[in-house]
Subunit: 326 residues, 2 copies
């Protein structure tokens, strides 16, 4: 149990989802003395669906991944992944150190056969719904072959998470014409046309939230920068809205009149509703929640884990890979 | 005179700036019969400050840059750049085909000595003001040395355009720690520390509009994707605001009450106020206006041209390069 806020946020978030999902059994991994007090509000029946697995160590948010693997064998992060590897847990959801989570998961769970590198994928807000984008930063770069693997994994996640039966997959580029892009992007474009995916070609940065495709594929450097750039401007605009509506008493009155629209808008753009990125390509379901997630936000990451585990995303990816190879 | 809308938008935009800037002399390049009618509203005195230079050809918005250079020697785009090369014009502002403008400008004007590749730079909205970012898509990639050159050019533009005496320069990466980033980014990071720039290190995507630095340096692929991703989400949020405030009669009334705040917000986020990207590194001032720019927007691009020409950005870059080498 790590992240910036620890059990006081993660446990209430997880319990929200425990109450939503009658079939869910929750394993909380961490220091029992910190976890136990958070369970006070549960009914007796609910309490039977929660198990605490003790872990004495914590991986620090800035700890080097290699060190975490080597020295933190009794950390909550490691123990939770061990449970997934042993088949005792169907998914691991963590607010901890991203690099350590990724590296430890890779070490403990291994990769799906046919996938070279894990990737981070998330459903981002888009006009009329969501678009899944990957890689959001697991890797610094990607080969054409890896981009194709990302596309296959992205299509599976879009199908399982967004319930899109035949997801439209696109490759991120700086233009739509065939001649645009670097050699890696062009090679991936060629290969993707030969897959059985519904590959629609190149899209540009402004298409990420245009809602015209279901999956957008890019390397981890570009994906991470784009995601954070979007978060940055959304944050700036929210701050501007707040400022404009509080800059004078008259405007504050205006804000009251505009209350329903403003609060509906706020809800719609609430970044907490988009929390929960999957680390796909691993032989197990691993969900990364924002380190700064609150309980509402952590609950959303838990729901992503429940959905991916319920749909068996890793075995679905394996099956899809075999279909591509056939 | 090209772009999606042609003279009917560019000329009124340019005339706005002609009226603002008493010292400005305007050369309109294009088909005189299309330009002349747009000048009707001018006073006699104003008319003496406007010259029409005829050009019989137009470079299409999808035309290949090489073809434009080879076959369109009497296009408005080419003639305007010829005027800059001849010293008859201090800057060229165009809404035309970006690739053709860049390639023709490169061919006609040549590069500043010591700069390997031109880059596209623009002042983007940030908390408390603006941040200059480059490269926004002139190149598909950049070497470490080219990123350093971009940084030097970016610092000059921030100084001349945003009036920042000692601009803070940062390198875009997917983390802030020294160990983050690919080899090119790491090498550029090292080299930048040895320059006399106020280099503050790595920033991430969310810092682009955080207002904590004046210049952000990245390669053209990442920069283009990030810029367009930001434009996309800003557009989505604007649409959501509009929707929320028109979804019911009560909300429309709310919008009236919230009118001053909403219109101030709209003005603040108006993308037209950020139009006008410079193609730096060329031995002359060349400004690219959005192809879809309206007159307000085109006027803003003109102002960027006036500022850059007035400050002599290309010679300022030369001087800065010599200082770095000394």
């Amino acid at each position: 149990m790590s992240g910036d806020h620890g059990p006081s946020v993660c446990v209430p978030g997880a319990l929200t989802v425990l109450r939503e999902e009658a079939a869910l059994e929750l394993i909380l991994v961490g220091q029992p003395e910190a976890l136990e007090p958070e369970l006070k509000g549960l009914t007796e029946l609910e309490r039977t669906r929660v198990r605490i697995v003790p872990a004495t160590q914590v991986v620090g948010m800035d700890e080097a991944p290699r060190e975490a693997i080597r020295r933190k064998k009794d950390s909550s992060l490691r123990r939770a992944l061990d449970l997934v590897a042993a088949g005792e847990a169907a998914a691991c959801v963590s607010s901890g150190n991203t690099g350590a989570l990724m590296s430890t998961a890779h070490f403990v769970l291994g990769m799906i056969e046919g996938i070279e590198r894990p990737a981070i994928i998330s459903a981002l807000p888009a006009v009329g719904g969501h678009t899944c984008m990957l890689d959001l930063g697991a890797n610094l770069s990607a080969t054409a072959e890896q981009l194709v693997q990302f596309a296959i994994m992205g299509a599976v996640v879009a199908e399982d998470l967004l319930a899109r039966p035949k997801p439209r997959v696109a490759l991120l580029n700086i233009g739509r014409e065939d001649i645009k892009g670097n050699e890696t992007v062009k090679a991936a474009h060629q290969r993707l046309q030969a897959t059985n995916l519904d590959y629609v070609g190149y899209v540009e940065g402004n298409d990420i939230c245009a809602g015209s495709v279901d999956v957008i594929v890019t390397d981890g450097f570009t994906g991470n920068v784009a995601l954070k750039a979007m978060e940055g401007i959304a944050h700036m605009i929210s701050a501007a809205v707040r400022e404009e509506f509080t800059s004078s008493p008259a405007r504050s009155l205006g804000a009251i009149a505009a209350g329903p629209a403003l609060s509906s808008l706020k809800k719609r753009l609430d970044p907490r509703r988009y929390n929960g990125a999957s680390m796909v390509g691993l032989a197990g379901v691993v969900i990364k929640s924002h380190g700064s997630a609150d309980a509402v936000s952590f609950a959303h990451a838990m729901r992503v884990g429940v959905l991916e585990a319920g749909n068996g995303v890793p075995s679905h990816i394996s099956a899809q890979l075999q279909r591509q190879a056939a």
